[in-house]
């Protein structure tokens, strides 16, 4: 989006306030994945997406929902707690948030190795350090699915 400098003063203040909880990640983990053409890739989004019928995200939820790779677009809904972002793009085309069709096309063309069997969705509106237990749990699930790399998409 625009830089913070381009936002109205009140909005900039809110986003600058958020900066306070973002620093302090001193570790610099770095995993070297295989070449892209061999990579098996999963999407992890913080857009609060899930399938119709799944439990909606509660306030400050740190858990995730599973989105099987074959999930039809018609089954995807969003229950993110924040209303401070555009939803009309997602209404129009889920790929603008969760680019599963694009990823499948890249796999078909050989640009990436393959697409994971399962993808995952969090709701990003929480104290970020509270996400660690579920992230660790997720890493094990991703490895079990032979995932080499994750694409994280925000909202």
């Amino acid at each position: 989006m625009v830089r913070l400098a381009d936002l109205p003063e009140w909005d900039r203040k809110i986003k600058i306030e958020k900066l306070k909880e973002l620093d302090g990640f001193d570790g610099r983990p770095w995993v070297r994945p295989p070449p892209l053409a061999e990579c098996r890739i999963a999407v992890v989004t913080t857009a609060g997406l899930h399938r119709k019928g799944d439990r909606p995200f509660g306030q400050s939820a740190t858990d995730y929902r599973i989105i099987p790779g074959g999930t039809r677009a018609a089954e995807l809904v969003m229950s993110h707690q924040s209303v401070n972002f555009d939803r009309s793009g997602f209404h129009e085309d889920h790929n603008v948030v969760f680019p599963i069709d694009r990823l499948n096309e890249l796999a078909a063309s050989g640009a990436i190795g393959s697409v994971a069997a399962y993808h995952y969705s969090f709701m990003g509106a929480t104290q970020i350090r509270q996400l660690e237990p579920k992230a660790v749990e997720l890493a094990a699930l991703l490895k079990a699915d032979s995932v080499d790399a994750v694409l994280l998409t925000p909202i």
């Binding site: 570790g27 039809r72 009309s88 996400l131 660790v136 994750v150």
Partner: protein, 242 residues
């Protein structure tokens, strides 16, 4: 979201991410990130433009080939402006401004829902999907429950959800119904004009403002929290109060 990248990478899974707020990503410094100049809510930039989305996606994935990091790259291509001749209040083929003034909220909402149903159906047919459906009730029922809440401050929970969760899914569904109906207008109104139309020109928007007001002073703390982030966008709240 950059925190997830740190945690996943520390656990042995490589990550790359799209970033919408560059300063936040700079602060959290994840292993690989592609900052994109798109609005919040559209990390891939442009709906229904597979080629555009593909370029963004590939740019993010190619960061996985970086020999070392952290890497924070800037995506160079802006989303093309939407060609729209919308004026305020004309994002949707149905204009309600006068009706809202002439009748109570209950009647106005019921008429809006009825008038929008055809446009909503068109949008669903075109897209083959809808994001309405968090609550398993009809749109007329969802609207009625919200109106009743503004009258009594009481709300019967549905589907085993809590009161605040029930309110949230009803709100999401009603707003999505209006937004999707508005999108059916020929010429595809942009995100901003749909938002402006809903919040300033419909009884549905007015109802949401009332729901927020009641939640903000409700004795139930979970409803107070809902009012803080989950009902009315901050930009709209500020404009309404101005």
């Amino acid at each position: 979201m950059g925190a997830l990248a740190h945690y996943l990478e520390a656990a042995g899974v490589a990550t790359t991410q799209i970033s919408l707020i560059r300063e936040h990503t700079e602060a959290i410094n994840p292993p690989r990130a592609l900052w994109v100049p798109f609005i919040l809510g559209r990390p891939l930039g442009v709906p229904n433009d597979a080629a555009f989305q593909q370029r963004v996606l590939l740019a993010a994935l190619r960061l996985l080939e970086a020999p070392s990091g952290p890497v924070l790259a800037d995506y160079p291509e802006d989303a093309p402006p939407v060609s729209s001749d919308d004026e305020a209040g004309q994002a949707c083929p149905v204009s309600f401004a006068s009706q809202v003034a002439e009748s109570g909220v209950r009647g106005a909402i019921a008429r809006e829902v009825e008038a929008l149903a055809g446009w909503y159906d068109l949008a669903v047919q075109r897209r083959g999907r809808t994001s309405v459906g968090l609550a398993s009730v009809s749109m007329a029922d969802a609207a009625e429950r919200l109106v009743a809440f503004t009258e009594s401050s009481e709300l019967a929970a549905i589907d085993g959800l809590s009161r605040s969760e029930t309110l949230k899914v009803l709100i999401e569904d009603l707003r999505a119904f209006y937004y999707e109906a508005a999108s059916a207008k020929p010429g595809a109104p942009d995100a901003e004009s749909i938002q402006r139309w809903f919040w300033f020109d419909t009884a549905g928007g007015r109802l949401m403002l009332k729901v927020e007001e009641i939640c903000a002073r409700h004795e139930d703390a979970s409803l107070k929290r809902l009012a803080a982030t989950s009902i009315v966008p901050r930009a709209v709240s500020r404009a309404v109060r101005a």
